[in-house]
Amino acid sequence: MDGRKNIKIALNIATLLVTAVFLYWGDSVLSPFQKRILNLAAIFVILGASMNLVVGFTGMFSLGHSGFMCVGAYTAAILTMSPESKELIYYMEPIVPWLKNIEWPIIPATIMGGIIAAVFGILVGFPALRLRDDYLAIATLGFAEIIRIIVTNTISITNGALGLKNIPSEKSLLFYWSFCIITIIILKNLINSSWGYAFKAIRDNEIAAEAMGVSVFKHKMLSFTIGAFFAGIAGALMAFLITSIDPTMFRFLFTFQILLIVVLGGMGSLTGSVIAGIIITIAMEWLRFVERPMTILGMDIPGIPGMRMVIFAILLLVVVLFYRQGLMGTKEFNWDWLLDKLGLARNRERGIS
């Protein structure tokens, strides 16, 4: 094979190795607080990338991501909590018997969180994906609310509004970032496959895609379900990271934050979602200072709750009004670009993937 290809394979392996070493090293030297933020970033990257698949690559303006996340989080939490904590926490109404004694390890429970969320994705997708644009947006937003309301009201399964506590905790970088990296690789391969092109064809021109023989509904369903699956995975990871969840967490506000990542990174760029996911997570933590009381030049300034979201709302508006492409537009990072910059052996065959 040509030289470029071998170089790229070597670079990919090297990157993975370096990342693995960094994660391993980070697990032992970083503070719990730093690790928590990095893990949160991994979760937001998964959320941003999976929402981008639906919104940016397939052109479906779905606002239901927080609902699928909610399903994943609850599935994973219920599957992993010990029977003793379940007895303790479900004091309004005892948990249904068939869930009472289940206690799974966290990795299968995470994947199950994704699967159940995907099942919800199919259930929601069947009616909702017949709609377009803003009708799709409002319907998916409605479905996410319905999911949340169901979770609040099915007390013998979810413990209702009280939420769940004592969910097994997982703190390692390796765990969260492995899920994140695998998600990105899967989504990247999908987007660069002929399915990915079919998604983009639907986004660019639905009627032409259909005229080319692409079954639009089937492909929208596929994209939407995969999006829901990864939202569910992210929800499960969130449950293990913060160890207590309740239905109010999964309000539309959450989808707003993910939307911000997608728009800031660039609708239709996975690279953009990765970068924006990390930036937004860190900014969210860093900007906490504006909500805390502080002293500037001897003046006491009281903390201003809500200020962070004001900043994020303005950021979203600025991006959509003035930099509609976001950070990356529809461009992706790739080795070819980097190697071209470095002037290394140029020998590429494009178009097949």
Binding site: F61, A137, A139, E145, P305, G306, V310, L317, V320, L321
Partner: protein, 297 residues
């Protein structure tokens, strides 16, 4: 259910339905003209309520003056939002305008939290506007009469404007075919701004009425009424002013009756509107009074 509670529910349903109708008109007009779900419409309710609240409590204005100023302020805000956040995106993909609308909505909500705090405040009820009426076995607030009355008057006024004035005729032309209308020397910007002004003014009236009826205000108070009123507009047939009225009444009455007849389902009250929305979109996407539009290819 006794006759009294049934009548009580009817009274509640009528006030809630009128409120929904009033707010839904703004959604339906804006959507009819620029095909945008104006998410910020919901938050205008909140802005109007706080303006009225501070007018009465801080500036000690008479309630009617405070209400008028609040309506004026909200109208100006609505027009500014159109100019700043929507107009630059008029030729952009629809998703962009929708994202902008969501951004404005979050900005208003969180500015609200920053400026007035997240905790709810009690909204004052002027004594000569809100009193108890006893009729046979049931008692209800004067609002159960005043709100529907105001809604009917405003609806009649809007209908008059849309059907009889020049700007109304221009509005209908733009709503039918934006591009052709702009080619035919209709001042599209003027039409859009007027639409936002009327819609925002109605939202302000709706918000103040809402706060009188449910006298607790907080920065997120607009979110659910907003979503539901959009749903009401879709139910009635988006773009149709009488449709918004019908949708609003049906939705309000339906919600109250759902809780009245099936108290077990009261936890699902907020889901009811969404279920209705999804059913309408699937089976009668044009709404009750709307016409089904076939996409041009």
């Amino acid at each position: 259910m006794t006759l009294e509670t049934f009548l009580q529910n009817i009274a509640n349903g009528i006030s809630l339905g009128s409120l929904y109708a009033l707010i839904a008109i703004g959604y339906t007009m804006v959507y009819g003209i620029i095909r945008l779900i104006n998410f910020a419409h919901a938050d205008l309710l909140m802005v109007a309520s706080y303006a009225a609240f501070y007018g009465i409590l801080i500036f000690a204005l008479p309630w009617w003056l405070s209400f008028l100023l609040a309506i004026l302020l909200t109208t100006i805000l609505g027009m500014s939002i159109e100019k700043i956040a929507y107009r630059p995106l008029r030729d952009a993909p629809r998703i962009s305008a929708l994202i902008s609308a969501i951004g404005v909505s979050f900005l208003l909500q969180n500015l609200g939290i920053v400026l007035v705090g997240a905790s709810p405040k009690p909204f004052p009820r002027p004594e000569n506007l809100v009193w108890n009426i006893h009729l046979g076995g049931i008692s209800f607030l004067s609002l159960a009469v005043i709100i529907p009355l105001i809604t009917l008057v405003l609806l009649a006024a809007v209908n008059l404007v849309v059907n009889k004035t020049n700007i109304g005729i221009a509005m209908r032309a733009v709503s039918r075919d934006f591009e052709t209308a702009s080619l035919m020397a209709v001042d599209v910007n003027k039409v859009v701004v007027t639409t936002f002004a009327v819609g925002s003014g109605l939202a302000a009236v709706g918000g103040i009425m809402w706060s009188l009826q449910y006298p607790q205000i907080d920065p997120l108070m607009g979110v659910f009424p907003g979503l539901k009123c959009f749903i009401a507009a879709v139910m009635g047939g988006i773009g149709s002013v009488p449709g918004a009225m019908v949708g609003g009444f049906l939705l309000g009455m339906g919600e109250v009756m759902l809780v009245g007849f099936m108290p077990d389902l009261s936890g699902y009250r907020d889901a009811f509107a969404f279920v209705v929305l999804i059913l309408i979109l699937l089976f009668k996407p044009g709404g009750i009074l709307g016409e089904h539009v076939v996409e041009k290819v």
